[in-house]
Amino acid sequence: MSGTELEKAASANRARSGPSDGPALAARDLTRRFGAFTAVDRISLEVARGEIFGFLGANGAGKTTAIRMFCGLLEPSDGEAWVDGLSIATRAETIKRRIGYMSQKFSLYDDLTVEENLRFSGGIYGLRKREIDERAARLFDRLGLHDSRRRLTASLPLGYKQRLALGAAALHEPRVLFLDEPTGGVDPLARREFWDLIYETADSGTTVFVTTHYMDEAEYCGRVSIMVEGKIVALGSPKELKENAGVSTMEEVFLKAVRP
């Protein structure tokens, strides 16, 4: 995406968002229980519009469960949450039009071509074919996939697949983009490239809510929260968290939070 196109996209996004008052995402005492097990235990947080928010935690800490509640995949047992100012309890269907979601598992179809995958991603959000093709072409240029657009997605390297999945999840220009451990299993360079794409997406006005357990990635976020056994035990910018803990890396912050 060239600079001017980026600006155009960003201004279009702002125009579409209208008056952006209030947080992009908010939770108050959000809780989810599975039987006797409490996966998410009264978490509260606010994410500002355009922010890149890192949702950290060890495996099994409840990150995915929380994201699924924000996306309308799971109902909360207790508490409340709002996405783009809409309550997840009552406006889940409207929320679904305004969010993008990239799940932990690779979520494109291996047996479809790159192009077909994007057409599908755009189509299920009700985009017109012309809109999809325009945006897809921009994405292909950006990812250098223009010549591969008729290739089967299965034949792409994982790093490309993940960036393609991100592009697909953001094709309809959502207000809030949820990424659930998007960079699992790829090398640091591919992760770096993925984060470049996240930054570009956020620059165009989209709020990014990303879970990860890579602490180097935490440094890229505006603010992060650390979740341990369903509870949020730390919340702030990486700089604040490091200062408060008196350490120099997020890795140490995380270890201290997990094993106080």
Binding site: L73, E93, M102, S103, F106, F120, G123, I124, G126
Partner: protein, 368 residues
């Protein structure tokens, strides 16, 4: 609408991208039709039958002559006396014996009823029942009133005359092939769609779709449409092969058959989707689709076993098997040339709506 179409297009891409599954979907029904069409046959050609003519009259000789020339039975030898009957059964020389008693021509003249005893090897009960009906039919064709089967010739109350309608040649293919079409279509239909949702659940793409504004109805309809095309192709192939290979007649309207088949296929496809939305894995979904369609259709629909002779609870159970209705329709259209089945059509349409609705409702329940 646009969202539904993009699901349908995506699903078509899946199908076309996988020529092997496509081939299975096309070849399997034909292979099944040929296998079962030749395999399941209630027809008994060249049944070895011994003949005992105690009457030795022109009338009895005439009957024997006509029975043999009917081409349906094989003359396994003439018996001199009743003592020869049992050893012949034991040695397997004949599966049945037609015994024309000494009073045959006399009673034929006096009471205009000729009595013939039919003895059947009952060691294979199913075959025995078939042989019984079969010989009665042969006797009827040979112009003689059929006799009571078994030993009690003496207390034979009445000799009826059977006239076989709609399938006068007693071609079992005419009976079996429409039934096979009913089985194959419901099985393939359910199988095709049973994988469709379970696969997405397994790969995690369903989770992705559920976070989009796509509604359950759009998913369901979008997924059914492409498979409906394939299932329709299958239906055409199966009925076509039945016509060409087995020579099943088509006495009714193709349009009527196409219309009712559409309803039936919709039921089958939506059944597959419902199973698919309940099953966790593709494998479970496939097994469930096979079990849910094959056995009930085979046992309860009236394809093999006549529904009228089933215990009443099984008859009730048969009423929830879609093939029960389709069977009436397809036999009625192809063999009898009927075209109007308001009850069967209504039930099939109702089933399609109900099952599609249930499948759609299952989707609303998010991820749990």
């Amino acid at each position: 609408m646009r969202r539904m179409l993009s699901i349908a297009r995506k699903e078509s891409n899946h199908i076309l991208r996988d020529p092997r599954s496509l081939a299975v979907a096309i070849v399997m029904p034909i292979a099944m039709l040929l296998l079962y069409g030749y395999g399941i046959s209630t027809e008994l050609r060249d049944l070895p039958v011994g003949i005992l003519d105690e009457d030795r009259s022109p009338a009895s000789r005439d009957l024997v002559e006509r029975m043999i020339s009917s081409g349906f039975i094989m003359d396994a030898g003439r018996l001199d006396s009743r003592d020869a009957i049992e050893p012949g059964f034991r040695k397997g020389r004949w599966r049945a014996v037609v015994a024309i008693g000494a009073g045959f021509s006399e009673s034929l003249i006096r009471e205009s009823v000729g009595r013939v005893q039919v003895l059947i090897d009952g060691s294979d009960a199913t075959t025995a029942a078939t042989v019984d009906n079969y010989l009665k039919a042969v006797l009827a064709l040979a112009g003689a009133p059929p006799g009571e089967s078994g030993e009690n010739l003496e207390n034979l109350p009445l000799a009826g005359r059977a006239r076989i309608l709609f399938n006068p040649e007693l071609e079992s293919a005419n009976f079996i092939v429409p039934g096979l079409a009913a089985i194959i279509l419901v099985m393939i239909g359910a199988l095709l769609t049973s994988i469709a949702v379970a696969r997405e659940r397994e790969t995690g793409t369903m989770e992705q779709i559920l976070t989009t504004p796509v509604g359950p109805r759009e998913i369901i309809v979008g997924k059914v449409l492409p498979y409906l095309v394939i299932a329709y192709l299958d239906a055409a192939l199966v009925v076509g092969a039945g016509r060409i290979v087995f020579g099943v007649p088509m006495n009714g309207s193709w349009i009527a058959l196409a219309a009712y088949s559409l309803l039936y296929l919709l039921v089958a496809l939506s059944l597959g989707l419902l199973i698919s939305s309940l099953a966790r894995t593709q494998r479970v979904a496939m097994m469930a689709a096979l079990t849910a369609t094959l056995l009930p259709t085979l046992l309860l629909s009236g394809f093999v076993f006549p529904r009228s002779s089933m215990p009443v609870p099984l008859q009730w159970l048969g009423q929830i098997v879609p093939a029960t209705y389709y069977l009436t329709v397809i036999r009625g259209i192809m063999l009898k040339g009927e075209a109007w089945f308001p009850v069967e059509g209504g039930v099939l349409a109702g089933m399609a709506v109900l099952i599609l609705g249930a499948a759609a409702a299952r989707f609303r329940t998010r991820l749990e």
